[in-house]
Each structure stands twice: as structure tokens, then as C-alpha cells.
Amino acid sequence: MTSVQIGSILSLVLCATVLWRLVRNGLYIRYPYFCAFLVLSVIRLILFQLPFNRHQYAIVWLTTEALVWIFYVLILLELYTLVLSRYKGIQSLSRWIFHGSMALALAVAAISLYPRFGSGGPNDFLMVFMIAERGILSALAVMTLLMTAFLTWFPVPLPRNVILHSILFAFYFFSKAAALLVRNMLGHEGAKAVTNLGILAVGAVCMVLWAWLLTPAGEVVEARVGHRWNEDEEEKLLDQLKSINSSLSRSAQG
């Protein structure tokens, strides 16, 4: 049995453990897409243990991997919907930041892909697929980082689970994108084996942390009594903000 096969079996056990813990703790209601992603991961890891030939294996891998991409996006949407729906005061701004982050992340990912596609490019479908995967993962990593920065700046009190979930996903996306970049660029078989093992190891670490850290207690967020603004108060505050902004703008340009 190869190290990658051992890693696959370990991943299968870990995925099933996380799924079992989420169901047992009732957290599957809060994170339905994440649970669906885990179900898909368990199914595909079981499928990979079957004795497929090379062609069948490629079809199963490509199909399920494309589904995994869709789930990555759905999980991020689920995460930030959970985060931002709580705070009505910044709903418009957070929507704007979410779309802006998405556009910026896609631009960064497109730039990161250019050296490969721009130089004559790969003609092997599998290679194109893996480069596209790297682009998607880079975009998701950048987007998670930007959204985390926004949530840090606008001091949003979040449940511990949401913070850890977001950090673990950013870590996973970036590590996988970096491993794929190294594999795409180095190309040789040795690099493929090492990066495959690296991806499995990162996945395993994340699964252990998800199983360990996502708890029902982590869903609790300290309630604060907010200050309800009246219209006069808001208008006065806006005037003051605009006045300071125009002073700052003059000074910064002058």
C-alpha cells in the first residue's frame, strides 16, 4: 500500500469523524453545505478505493472534483451569510465589500494563471483542469482573507465556530493552491507524489481541527445592547463625518 493510499484512507476516516461530530452536535443545521461537502468527500474517498482503471478513475476524479469546487463556493456563501445577516447596520456595505472582494480575488487568480496559459499554454485537458483548480482555490483564499480583514476592521463579534471555520478554510484553500502551483510548475513525478501527500496532510490537519474545535458552545456569541439611532442623531453624525472627511481630503491632497 502506497503512502497516498494510506493518506486517502486516513482522510476518509477523518471526514467521516467530522461529519459524525457535526450531526451528533446538531451543527449540521447551521452548516448544511459544509455537511454536504463532507458527505461528498466521504463518497469520493470510498469510490477511490475501488479498482478502477486509469480512464474510469480520471472520470470519477474530474466529476467529483468539479462538484467539490461548487461546494467550496457554497460553503463560503454559507459562512458569510451566517456572519453578515446578524448585523443589519452594515448590510449594504458588507454586500458591497463581498462583491468587491470577489472581483479582486478573481482578478488576482487570473493574474496568477497568466504565466502558464499565456506562454503557449498546456494542451492536456487534465493539466488545464488542474490549473483552473489552482485559480479557483487562489481566488477563494484571497477572498476569505479579504473578508476576514473586513470583519476584523469592522469589529464584528462572531461565534468562535465561524472564526475558526473561516480561518481553517483560508488555510486549506491557500495550502492546496500553493501545492498545485508547485506541482504545475515542477511537473515531474516526484513533485506530484510529494504535493499529493502534502494536500492529503493539510486536509487531514484541517479535518482534525474541525472535529476538535467546532462545538455547540462555539456557536454562542456575546450579546451586546446596541444603541438605536434616531433620524436626527444619524443626520448629525453623518454631517460630522462628512465634515471631517472633507477636511482630511483637502489636507491629504494639499
Binding site: 482573507l145 476576514t148 472564526i163 444603541h227 442623531e233 463625518l241 477636511s247 491629504a252
Partner: protein
């Protein structure tokens, strides 16, 4: 690009990414421990800073017997250092009040797009302004360009008053 350069690039980018992520994660976890709006006004005295870059002081010093250029340089450096501490104080005060306003905005019962946009714009403008002020102090210290400090200090003074005014609705919010 050689393989070593590629690996080094990936490692550096990864290190920066993970450091940023770790820092922001720690910040987010600390928000949970509750750091609500903190808005008590702290009076600041920026007016004395106006005298720090008065060229007449340096001209007077140059006329004194036994004057050496390094004495002038030392005085410039010392005054620049004091002024930088004024700027840092201003930045801290701004950060404190701005944080309080952001807390109040996220806790507002309804969407406040104009206020949150104004706050975001204000943060960017203030950062630009501070960068410019620090650059001008550095130039003064090098003796490259005498600093026109009167306008700058008056601006800081005016802004301090405005920032203090901002604390009133925040303070009301805390009291409510």
C-alpha cells in the same frame, strides 16, 4: 524562473498569508470578548506642536557663538521626534473613536449604508493624511524642506475638535 526561486516565492507568500490570517483570527477572537464602544473624550494639546518647527528658533541658534551644524541637526531630530509622538497620539485617539463608531454602526437596528461608507472613506483618508504628515516630518528632519507646520497643526487641531464632537453621539450611545 528557476525551481528554487519558485519555491522561495511560494514559501514567502505562504508565510505572509498565514501571518496575516493568524493575526486577523486572533483579532476576531478578541472582539468576542467584548470591546464595546469606548468614547470618553480625552483632551489633546496640539497647539504647542506649532512651535516645534519654528524656523526662527533655528536661525537664532545659528547666530550663537560656538554653533556647529550638528547642534542644529540634533535639535531638528529631537523636535521631529516630539512631533511624531503628537502624531501617534492623534492616530491613537482617532483609532479609538473610530472603533467606537464602527461598533455603534454594526449594532444599529437598521442598515446604515451612508454612515458605514463614510466611515470606510474616513479611515482611508486619515491613513493617507498620516502618511503624508509623517513624510513631511521625515523631510524636515533631513533638512530637505522646511516644514510649513502652522497649517498642519491647525488642521490637526480642527480635526481633534471634530473627532471630540464625534464622541458625543458615541457617548450617548454608551449611556443609552
Amino acid at each position: 524562473m528557476s525551481n528554487q526561486m519558485l519555491l522561495a516565492g511560494v514559501m514567502v507568500t505562504g508565510a505572509v498569508f498565514f501571518l496575516l490570517l493568524g493575526y486577523m483570527g486572533a483579532q476576531l477572537l478578541s472582539h468576542r470578548k467584548g470591546s464595546g464602544a469606548r468614547a470618553e473624550a480625552r483632551p489633546m494639546r496640539l497647539r504647542p506642536a506649532m512651535r516645534l518647527f519654528n524656523e526662527a528658533d533655528f536661525e537664532y541658534l545659528e547666530r550663537q557663538p560656538g554653533y556647529r551644524p550638528e547642534i542644529g541637526r540634533k535639535l531638528r531630530a529631537e523636535r521631529a521626534r516630539i512631533f511624531k509622538s503628537y502624531l501617534s497620539q492623534m492616530a491613537r485617539e482617532f483609532a479609538r473613536l473610530h472603533h467606537s463608531l464602527r461598533v455603534l454602526t454594526i449594532e444599529a437596528g437598521a442598515d446604515r449604508p451612508e454612515v458605514s461608507r463614510a466611515l470606510l472613506e474616513q479611515q482611508m483618508l486619515f491613513s493617507m493624511y498620516m502618511a503624508k504628515a509623517r513624510m513631511r516630518v521625515a523631510l524636515f528632519q533631513l533638512g530637505v524642506k522646511p516644514m510649513e507646520v502652522q497649517g498642519l497643526v491647525e488642521m490637526l487641531d480642527r480635526m481633534q475638535n471634530q473627532v471630540n464632537q464625534l464622541s458625543k453621539p458615541v457617548a450617548a450611545g454608551v449611556a443609552a
